[in-house]
Amino acid sequence: MIRLLLPVAGAVLFFALSWATVFLLRPRDPKRFFLGYALLLLVAAALTYRALWPLDRIEDALGLVCDLLLQLLACLTMWNAFYSVLWGFSGSLMHDLFNEPALCHRDRLIRSYEGEGDLDRILARRLPNLVRGGWVDHRDGMLRLRPKGVVMAVGTLASFKVFSLGMGGGVK
């Protein structure tokens, strides 16, 4: 049972490192840091586990796998919560409605997201990342899927079908 303390320690360290990074360094792309910390802490957990509990039996090896998976899941949960709740769409909507009573009307809320320019607030956040990451081309007002984007889109579409998710994207 004491072996299960290892992923707890890893998760606490992940939170502390991630919080310090975002709070103090304010990186443009925090997920690179999150990924780096998660991988480093996995390696550290594996080395610590092997030093404390040699892999003599299948139970020992299973304990290592279990510890690593639990630690990774805890890191992924914090990572996902950071993006989807604090930074994501529904979290942002609730933040706006809670802090700006003037937006508590469907049309005013939508107008605040539509903005004045060509791009609405949602696309303006995502389109530069999609272009920079090589997923789409954006020229002359046209968006075109690049090969890397095709692979991702086909995989996503397959997930929609396999798990009966409709068309995803948070739209029911």
């Binding site: 604090l86 469907r106 609405d120 949602i122």
Partner: protein
């Protein structure tokens, strides 16, 4: 030993994924996240007694505990995996482009297929169904106690991480 472990982990994950896919196909309007959690919890009992099948011999009590927790962790990964296609705006944009003629769309065409009005309308309905807010016939939105707690939590979380601009 390594091969047996890898095979066991893949089997446990595949079992859950297949069950979730089948249940979602039978109940397409059901909440897929409840399905994932339900499948993980119900099949955890099976995982605990599948030691002979997976490893060719019975495990000791610690081994069975690790096996059960591994199974539950894999359910957690499936949960996170499903949030990507189900919730991600970015992935939906890529799919809309994939389905468009020549895999290309103007910004206006994209907005017509998957625009800010559709997105916000749908999210508001989901938040209403989740008991976070109410929407009057004239479009006025009122936060309910759960919604105020949600808004307060997001505001506090953003303060903790010094997030000043998001979404």
């Amino acid at each position: 030993m390594l091969l047996r472990l890898v095979a066991a982990v893949l089997t446990l994950f595949a079992l859950q994924a297949v069950l979730v896919a089948v249940i979602s196909a039978v109940r397409p309007r059901g909440n897929v996240y409840f399905t994932v959690v339900g499948v993980a919890l119900v099949t955890a009992a099976l995982a605990a007694v599948a030691d002979r099948l997976l490893f060719g011999r019975p495990l000791d009590s610690d081994g069975r505990l690790f096996l059960t927790l591994t199974h539950l962790a894999l359910g957690g990964f499936l949960f996170h995996f499903l949030t990507l296609p189900d919730r991600s705006v970015t992935l939906r944009i890529l799919v809309e482009l994939l389905l468009a003629p020549d895999r290309a769309l103007s910004l206006g065409d994209l907005a017509a297929r998957y625009g800010v009005r559709t997105m916000i309308g749908s999210r508001l309905e989901q938040l209403r169904d989740g008991g976070c807010l109410s929407i009057a016939a004239d479009g006025a939105i009122a936060l309910l106690p759960r919604g105020r707690s949600f808004g307060r939590a997001v505001t506090a979380g953003r303060r903790v991480f010094r997030i000043t601009s998001a979404n």
